[in-house]
């Protein structure tokens, strides 16, 4: 079964600085990959997804992620963060070949943007 490791539990960064949130996955098959964001006391919102095609995926709020199959990574990046980007970010993976598949989430990375 697939699994997800988010390499940093907390990432503090100053406003307008670039940020990278790291995600590695392990799976014996092809996968779909996702990044979700969770603001305090809210559900999860889809930021972006990789299903197939270009390995550079652009999402909402200026975020992008790059799928690297050889390194089994799907890191999330933003060139310039805002205070409003402070939230919990989750990487998730689904098995491409399964009809009924449970989406596996990482433990999350708390991004804190400081003024």
């Amino acid at each position: 079964a697939q699994s997800v490791t988010q390499l940093d539990s907390q990432v503090p960064v100053f406003e307008e600085a670039p940020v990278e949130l790291r995600c590695n996955y392990s799976s014996s098959v092809s996968v779909y990959l996702f990044w979700y964001v969770q603001y305090p006391n809210q559900g999860l919102q889809l930021l972006l997804k990789y299903l197939s095609g270009s390995t550079l995926v652009k999402g909402i709020n200026g975020f992008e992620a790059e799928f690297n199959k050889s390194q089994t990574s799907f890191h999330l990046r933003k060139p310039s963060v805002h205070i409003s980007d402070t939230a919990e970010y989750f990487c998730a993976v689904s098995d491409l070949l399964m009809v009924w598949d449970d989406m596996r989430f990482g433990a999350g990375t708390r991004l804190t943007v400081k003024p």
């Binding site: 779909y32 999860l44 989750f90 689904s94 098995d95 449970d102 433990a107």
Partner: protein, 112 residues
């Protein structure tokens, strides 16, 4: 277009009691999944329903059960509540298959 809705927002129960949580999927979606998110952790998959049948189940005991109705809405039932069941319960909807899921705001369950 209404997104995924869940009720209630918050719930406090006593150990040993039973609870029912409800979810209405995003318009056009036919598949509902339930997740448990303990404080400071990522969501853990409980089960997934499609065409009123449980199609996939995570590593949760039989105390956790569910149901899907003909209108695709769903319920999550938890019997014999334990303190460790305290968590945010998230419902997500999608079209059938391994696709992106759309999440509701969650139900915060506190077991005392």
């Amino acid at each position: 277009d209404a997104g995924v809705t869940q009720s209630p927002t918050h719930l406090i129960k006593t150990r040993g009691q039973q609870v029912t949580l409800r979810c209405s999927p995003k318009s056009g979606h036919d598949t509902v999944s339930w997740y448990q998110q303990a404080l400071g952790q990522g969501p853990q998959f409980i089960f997934q329903y499609y065409e009123e049948e449980e199609r996939q189940r995570g590593n949760f005991p039989d105390r956790f059960s569910g149901h899907q109705f003909p209108n695709y809405s769903s319920e999550l039932n938890v019997n014999a509540l334990l303190l460790g069941d305290s968590a945010l319960y998230l419902c997500a909807s999608s079209l059938a298959g391994p696709r992106e899921q759309y999440f509701g705001p969650g139900t915060r369950l506190t077991v005392t």
